[in-house]
């Protein structure tokens, strides 16, 4: 007798349909699984057998062959347990086969027959809905996150006998409650006012937040580079519902989610010993890297010069295209990776305060050369922080907190999205050369200033577009329809220093 059950396997941050078929016939009692199972899948035999028996069900003393189709796809992890168990039950006549149509089943079993939570429930629900399954059976702990996906009925089940009851129509679980999107964006305990002085860097941070630009902060240790970076999510506009779902889905695959909708932009700060595949994703079964986990949020690289060059070079594609493509054998997996890069490094290799520093110009040049040129080429804003001036905080008077900065950034973003509504990008940083030409307008005096910069030889083709994008964001912050010369000047001031371009 043949029974088949639909389940889903995680692939990258998407899921892919897998059909579990169980053939049951007379012969020596045996249970074999084919279809490229990994050890965790092969061990499912023991879990399924014990779970069935401990749930008061019968494990058929027949020759059972389970096939996971498509057979060429490698299957990993314990999330096939539940589908196998249901297929065995149907194949042995304990469940009617006809009742299974329309259900996708995912979950891990314990020996006692309880259902254990799995990773990637959002992606599974997405996949099931797009293939056309109207109902999804999933561990009860994952039900809330799976229910974030609309258009599919989610059944959260606590144990194997409940599934049997559900499929026989004698029991229905409470419908899972999808938590509403939280409107509180960032933890309120991180505020820009915590950082004293550094008005220049705060300005850079605000421009970066407003336009989604990448930022590099250079300065001696202890001036607040890391503190500032950690406050960036607080001044970024909160993610839209669409973005929240994307973030939740990734975090659910990576096992990071609190099984609810992620309503904050992620902030990822990998240690500088991270490998290239840790940063952009990889592994035999490709897992998302830090830049994917920072999707729609901030990837912060502290001590940029200490990262391995291969790791930094690997960031080129994701920074350029907003996605990572990992090729394994014949298949390629795409991870979304639209994160803002914020990097920090010291102003000299000895990392001492400027008064104690004994580094020569050559030492500093060597240190600067360690920064990957390809990466620097993709950084829009560079600002230099100096050791705090005690009176600066009080002198500037206006201690603008995160709320004020976020308000300005949000307003600037709204202007951008109104302008870019037809172009398919969210913010100024996303504009390519063509869109820059189309959407960036300059006043006549700003245009002549730009021509002057080009003729002076200090502006190359790529630099030209970058300066225009930054200037556009600065003008957006000031609600100016066209770029004024002062916007252009400020954008030029935030470029990579000429000395740095030469050294790197």
């Amino acid at each position: 007798m043949l029974a088949s059950v639909a389940t889903f396997a995680i692939e990258g941050v998407d899921s892919r349909e897998v059909t579990v078929e169980v053939d049951s016939r007379r012969g020596l009692p045996a249970f074999t699984i084919v279809g490229l199972p990994d050890p965790a899948v092969r061990e499912a035999r023991e879990r399924v057998r014990a779970a069935l028996l401990n749930s008061g069900l019968e494990f058929p003393l027949r020759r059972l062959t389970a096939n996971l189709a498509p057979a060429h796809l490698r299957k990993a992890g314990p999330s096939f347990d539940l589908a196998l168990a249901v297929a065995v039950l149907a194949g042995s006549g304990q469940l009617p086969c006809s009742d299974l149509s329309g259900y996708a089943v995912c979950g891990e079993l314990s020996l006692g027959g309880l259902v254990r939570p799995i990773e990637g429930a959002v992606a599974i629900a997405h996949g099931a809905r797009s293939v056309g399954y109207p109902r999804l059976i999933i561990p009860v702990e994952n039900a809330a996150e799976a229910a974030l996906v609309e258009g599919i009925e989610v059944f959260g089940v606590p144990s194997l006998d409940r599934i049997v009851a559900l499929l026989r129509g004698s029991w229905r679980p409470d419908p899972p409650r999808a938590r509403p999107v939280s409107s509180v964006p960032a933890p309120e305990d991180l505020d820009l006012t915590d950082v004293r002085g550094q008005a220049d860097a705060k300005r850079a941070l605000e421009i970066a937040a407003a336009g989604g630009h990448n930022l590099l902060m250079i300065g001696p240790p202890g001036v607040g580079k890391t503190m500032l970076a950690r406050r960036l999510p607080g001044i970024l506009p909160p993610p839209s519902v669409e973005e929240s779902l994307e973030i939740t889905r990734i975090h659910s695959v990576a096992g990071l989610s609190g099984r609810t909708l992620v309503s904050q932009r992620p902030f990822r700060a990998p240690h500088h010993t991270v490998s290239a595949s840790g940063l952009v994703g990889g592994g035999v079964v490709p897992r998302p890297g830090e830049i994917t986990l920072a999707h729609r949020g901030v990837l912060f690289l502290d001590e940029l010069a200490e990262f391995s060059r291969t790791a930094l070079e690997a960031l080129r594609q994701p920074l350029e295209e907003g996605r990572v493509e990992i090729v394994r054998g014949q298949r390629s997996i795409v991870f979304p990776a639209a994160a803002m890069l914020v990097a920090a490094c010291n102003n000299c290799p000895c990392a001492r305060s400027p008064d104690d520093c004994a580094c020569t110009a050559a030492d500093r040049a060597r240190y600067a050369a360690r920064l990957s040129h390809a990466l620097l080429d993709r950084i829009d804003l560079v600002c230099r922080l100096e050791a705090g001036l005690p009176s600066a905080a009080t002198a500037s008077g206006a201690r603008s907190g995160s709320a004020v900065a976020r308000g300005r950034a949000l307003a600037a973003r709204e202007r951008q999205s109104r302008r870019l509504v037809e172009s398919g990008v969210f913010c100024n940083a996303g504009m390519d050369a063509r869109l820059t030409r189309r959407y960036v307008e300059l006043t006549p005096s700003a245009r002549s200033r730009l021509v002057e910069a080009q003729e002076g030889g200090s502006l190359t083709g790529r630099g030209h577009d970058r300066v225009l994008r930054i200037a556009r964001t600065i003008a957006d912050l000031a609600a100016r329809p066209q770029i004024e010369p002062s916007d252009l000047d400020e954008a030029l001031g935030f470029r990579l220093g000429s000395g740095m371009r030469a050294a790197a």
């Binding site: 050559a362 240190y367 600002c383 230099r384 000395g499």
Partner: protein, 397 residues
Amino acid sequence: MSAVCAACLRRSHLVACLAPRIAGLLDRPRRRPATLLALEENELIARVAGSGGAAAARFLQTFDARSARRRLVAARIDAVCCHEESYPAGLGALDDPPPVLYIAGGADRLRAMTAGPVATIVGTRRASPYALEVAYQLGRDVAAAGVTVVSGLALGIDAAAHRGALAGGGKALAVLGSGADVVSPRSNLRLYELVRERGVICSELPPGQRAFRWSFPARNRIMAGLGAITVVVEAADPSGSLITAAFAADIGREVGAVPGRVTARLAAGSNRLLRDGASVIRDADDVLDALFGARERHVAPSDRGPAKVSEASAEPAAEGPGRAPGLPTRPAGRAAEPLEPRLRSVLQSVEAGAGPAEIARDGGLSAADVRAALGRLELLGLVRRDVLGMYERTARR
């Protein structure tokens, strides 16, 4: 070029043949090879060759000037010997002038370039950005005034001076420590080609000869001999540039140095020259003053004559008119345009070593205003950021 006499050719090939042994003899670095290269042929063999003396003597006897000349033609290298009229007169003052100068770029051009005023600009390979900029501007403005710029085609100051000279009119003369057709370091290949195309590259070693440790100080004496003035832009102590300056002083030529920070080890050598009485060089005008006397800011028309000929033959109408007035006046033209008061005050703060935060506090400006002012000043070429983003004042006024 066929006028190169066989004796001079033989002598220079003998030096090349003995070159590896000379290196061994001069174990102590930076010892001047002057006395050695002035020796008679047989004496030189006796002093240097040691056990290889017989081979060297055999080399002398079997030396074939005709085949050496053929090799020169094949390598597209001209040669001028010290008995010829076109041999640079400045080298005559040396105790041990090179018997033959091998020339890439044309003997005629060398003759034209060394007939007029010549300034030698040298300095360290590992130069500060400040010194590189000064060297570039000196090279450019001195060349624009019609003066030939001599340097050694090394990295750092030498390369900057050559680049400046090319930008200011193409009167660049490089003296190598290897054969005139050998590019070292390779990273200077592009510059080498530019100089060869528009200026002259010369050496006392035959083509194909690699450089030796002694051949750099030996090359320095040629640079000192060519230049009416030797300017050291930035040099540590000790340094090959100081050897050049010492050669220049020995034969009674003017020596100048660009002041560096007294705390910078890199500038210790050039600063010591200043203490010892070298002229202070701040810009091209100081070089021209030293060459022609105070207030004579440009090369007199009579001095310029041969230089013009060389330009005409070297680059027919390539950038002939407009160039000479264009380049030297441009920096001056910018400076004439007065700065806004805000830019001026920010510029003064940068000169005082302040960062953006300090400038904002002291000037009562917003962070955005300061950043805009700095961006504008950088665009005008008045400030620059170093490798790690720190603002510094450039040499431009």
